[in-house]
């Protein structure tokens, strides 16, 4: 149900009295006092991508073209099957924990607004 007050001469006079207030530099003064803007999200994503790419290139070059990866896969393949299963489960557990903590942190951040 609409709760608005029934229109009469008093409402009309009240609205007439509410003249438009010219901005006269008010908006500029408010904007001047705003905290500095954060970099745009797209810019942040680009910076993160570039840093990751640079890091990967440096690692590839320093490690002699990534030969160590093949060597480590050979070593892993030589391990008993139970060890490989335990290692996979451990990695999964660590990743799940990190993701859970990150999700809780994000949810708390949203609630605090």
């Amino acid at each position: 149900m609409d709760e608005r007050v029934q229109e009469d001469w008093l409402d009309a006079r009240l609205r007439d009295e509410a003249a438009y207030i010219d901005d006269a530099g008010f908006t500029a003064r408010v904007v001047q006092h705003l905290p500095p803007a954060r970099p745009r999200r797209s810019l942040r994503a680009l910076i993160l991508f570039c840093i990751t790419l640079l890091g990967s290139i440096i690692t590839y070059v320093v490690s002699g073209g990534g030969k160590f990866i093949g060597a480590e896969i050979d070593r892993l393949a030589a391990l008993p099957i139970l060890w490989i299963l335990a290692l996979a489960a451990g990695c999964g557990l660590v990743l799940t924990s990190i993701a859970t903590v990150a999700a809780f942190a994000k949810s708390r951040e949203e609630q605090l607004g």
Binding site: D2, E3, R4, V5, L10, D11, R13, L14, R15, E17, A18, A19, Y20, I21, D23, F26, T27, R29, V30, V31, H33, L34, P35, A37, R38, R40, R41, E110, G113
Partner: protein, 178 residues
């Protein structure tokens, strides 16, 4: 096509876009400053300081605006809270005494030029009635919206609006006959 409040708020949230926020300020500065001028009984400098504080708080807390109410209603609530905090600091929260308001207007104390002035009559109302009538009758908020802005029960808003309207009509009629 001009952007809606929701579009501008989204831009502020995603990109921290100062231009979008400036647009929101430009769109809402007049009613917010007008309301604060009435609440501060015509003190333009104090009202503009409070309006500036209102918009700065809105910017800092824009994540808490969930779009459940209109952006203007949310702003009015911040503005009213800013005014109350300032009034508490100055201990000026209490309006004119009821007995003073009910008394016959003294021709010596009321400027004849102001007798027909509705704004002057408004300033004679106590704060709780003035704020309710300003929000509902001047700024077009529903009783429900005013109840959210003033943080008081719906029934109290309705009573305050009714009393304020009766007093205003009485005052204006009395001044007219005098």
């Amino acid at each position: 096509m001009p952007l809606t409040d929701a579009d501008l708020v989204a831009r502020v949230l995603v990109d921290d876009d100062h231009h979008a926020f400036a647009e929101l300020v430009r769109n809402h500065q007049s009613p917010v400053r007008g309301l604060l001028r009435q609440l501060t009984r015509g003190d333009i400098a104090a009202a503009d300081d409070l309006a500036q504080e209102t918009f700065l708080r809105a910017y800092k807390n824009i994540r808490s605006f969930r779009g459940e109410a209109k952006f203007s209603t949310w702003l009015y609530r911040i503005a009213y809270n800013c005014f109350r905090e300032e009034a508490r600091k100055r201990k000026e929260l209490v309006g004119i005494d009821e007995t003073q308001l009910e008394a016959e207007p003294d021709p010596q104390t009321i400027d004849p030029a102001l007798r027909q002035d509705l704004m002057h009559a408004l300033q004679l109302l106590p704060l709780h009635e003035r704020s309710a009538v300003l929000l509902c009758c001047q700024n077009g908020l529903s009783h429900n919206e005013a109840s959210r802005v003033l943080d008081i029960p719906l029934g109290t808003v309705k009573t305050n609006v009714l009393r304020a309207r009766e007093k205003l009509k009485k005052m204006l009629a009395a001044w007219e006959t005098n």
